[in-house]
Amino acid sequence: MERDQLLGMIKEEQAKNGSVSDGAMAHIAQTLHLPIGNVYGVTTFYSFLSTRPLGRHVIHICKSVPCFLQNGAMMAAAIEKELGISPGETTSDGRFSFELTNCIGACDQAPAMLVDDEVYGDLTPEKIGEILKSFE
């Protein structure tokens, strides 16, 4: 296996186990014959990869300018209220992690968010409540 498989392997680990643990990084480093520092360096470079455990579902609320102009901050506040956590935190039941993110390319449906890999646009606080209910 070549080094260019690295990002894909890290992503696969995250998809499978929700985050990339020290053990997983060590294992990947061994497989690719790379110093573990390289694996750590790549893992921590990207905002969608995480070394700390995340919830079963990850909410990414967009905070970039076009969403902000359409009350994006109010949507982030609605999630905080709904889940009782701040950006960067995970609910105590492990159901959701909540992150702020930059433009997700859905500005024509602003304000927008991703829950896992799915986009939800034209959000309102009520709509957010409904959407979150559909996740286990």
Partner: protein, 409 residues
């Protein structure tokens, strides 16, 4: 000028999951034509068309291909840049969602022209929901025999704006941190895995079949002297009808945002994304073209109720977060700018803040390693130019607030 649908003519018309519906609209005819002429002739046609890169930098496409074609090395690489991380930009998503086959045809033609056997599509992870459809488009095009000479592989990012910058993108594919590279060497000479590499934006590649099919003369008749063809504009912000609009280059900004997208009482517009220039309301009749203002085609509209300094602060916060950190002018420059702008936003500005921003802007423009740091000062300098009063007010308010504190002891 109404909308002119060329790149988007199939969108909503064909089934993006069924290649035969693309064929029924004349799809892959340009590829067939391509294979009957020499790679050099294909390059000459693209050069003559005047097509320039749609990813933001506007480099002439044919000239770039020629460099790669002539470059020594038996293995050449074609990369389609589908990272689309620029704030306010969603046109590539629109094309991939509604007509992925046009990209397949564009890539097949580009691969033939430069002599690449291997192609990559670098897709941002925020667009993971497009992956399945895109893979299906590759598989179907391959089954039909359209990708005989080009093996296309999708590589996904993991959330990093800078990975849209071509040298960072190549580092990302190679399994390294997505940091920009020093240049030279330039990619057509030595790019991915040190092989001659062509990196083109999705929209650029989607232009190619139309140029081959209809000829460079037909194509060159659209647009202005330096900006040929049509462009997809992504209109967002304070408008009634946000969305993707395809217009001939050189079209009127005012017509796009007011007549088509329904904007009212405009204060300013940022064109080209987070590092794009600012157009104040009294300059709305600016034509959209490379020689004036264009970038990625993002058009963000701000109405009279919006605060300019808040906007600049938020934009700089984005650029600071997304700076890869490799070069000092960008890493530290965006950090200091966030500090100064944050001070202004919070009513803690001091005399001289505007001068600090201007001086730092000059340094960053001159010395940053890549386009991010070099163009990060643009929104700061443009707002300082057109809305200097807003900054002055922030500073005098800050001074006033402090004087109150002193009185109250």
């Amino acid at each position: 000028m109404p909308e002119k649908k060329i790149l988007t003519k199939n969108c909503g018309k064909i089934d993006p999951g069924d290649v035969s519906t693309y064929e029924a609209e004349g799809g892959f005819k340009a590829l067939e034509k391509t294979l009957r002429i020499s790679p050099e002739e294909v390059i000459a046609e693209v050069k003559a068309s005047g097509l320039r890169g749609r990813g933001g930098a506007g480099f002439p496409c044919g000239a770039k291909w020629e460099l790669a074609r002539k470059s020594k090395g038996d293995e050449k690489v074609l990369i389609c840049n589908a990272d689309e991380g620029e704030v306010g930009t969603f046109k590539d998503r629109y094309l991939l969602q509604h007509d992925p086959f046009s990209l397949m045809e564009g890539m097949a033609i580009a691969g033939y022209a430069i002599g690449a056997g291997k192609g990559y599509i670098y897709l941002r992870s925020e667009y993971h929901y497009l992956l399945e459809g895109l893979q299906k488009a590759i598989d179907q095009s391959k089954e039909k025999g359209y990708l005989k000479d080009l093996e296309i592989e999708i590589r996904e990012g993991a959330g990093a704006y800078i990975c849209g910058e071509e040298s960072a993108l190549m580092n990302s594919i190679e399994g390294k941190r997505g940091e920009s590279r020093f240049r030279p060497p330039f990619p057509p000479e030595s790019g991915l895995f040190e092989k001659p590499t062509i990196i083109n934006n999705v929209e650029t590649l989607v232009n190619v079949p139309h140029i081959i099919q209809n000829g460079s003369e037909w194509y060159g008749a659209m647009g202005t002297d330096e900006s040929k063809g049509t462009k997809l504009f992504c209109v967002s912000g304070d408008v009634a009808r946000p969305g993707v609009y395809e217009m001939e280059l050189g079209c009127d900004l005012k017509e796009l945002v007011m007549d088509l997208a329904g904007a009212k009482e405009i204060k300013m517009i940022q064109v080209g994304g987070s590092t794009g220039g600012i157009i104040p309301s009294d300059m709305l009749s600016t034509p959209l073209a490379y020689e004036t203002i264009l970038g990625s085609g993002a058009v963000m509209v701000f109405d009279q109720t919006r605060d300019v300094v808040d906007f600049t602060y938020r934009t700089m916060e984005f650029l600071n977060e997304e700076s890869c950190g490799k070069c000092t002018p960008c890493r530290e420059g965006t950090e200091v700018m966030v500090g100064v702008l944050g001070r202004l936003v919070n009513g803690e500005g001091v005399d001289g803040d505007m001068e600090v921003l201007e001086e730092l802007s000059d340094t960053m423009k001159l010395s940053a390693l890549c386009g991010l740091g070099q163009t990060a000062p643009v929104p700061v300098l443009d707002t300082l130019k057109y809305f200097r009063k807003d900054y002055e007010n922030r500073i005098s308010q800050s001074v006033f607030l402090r004087s109150l504190k002193t009185v109250n002891g």
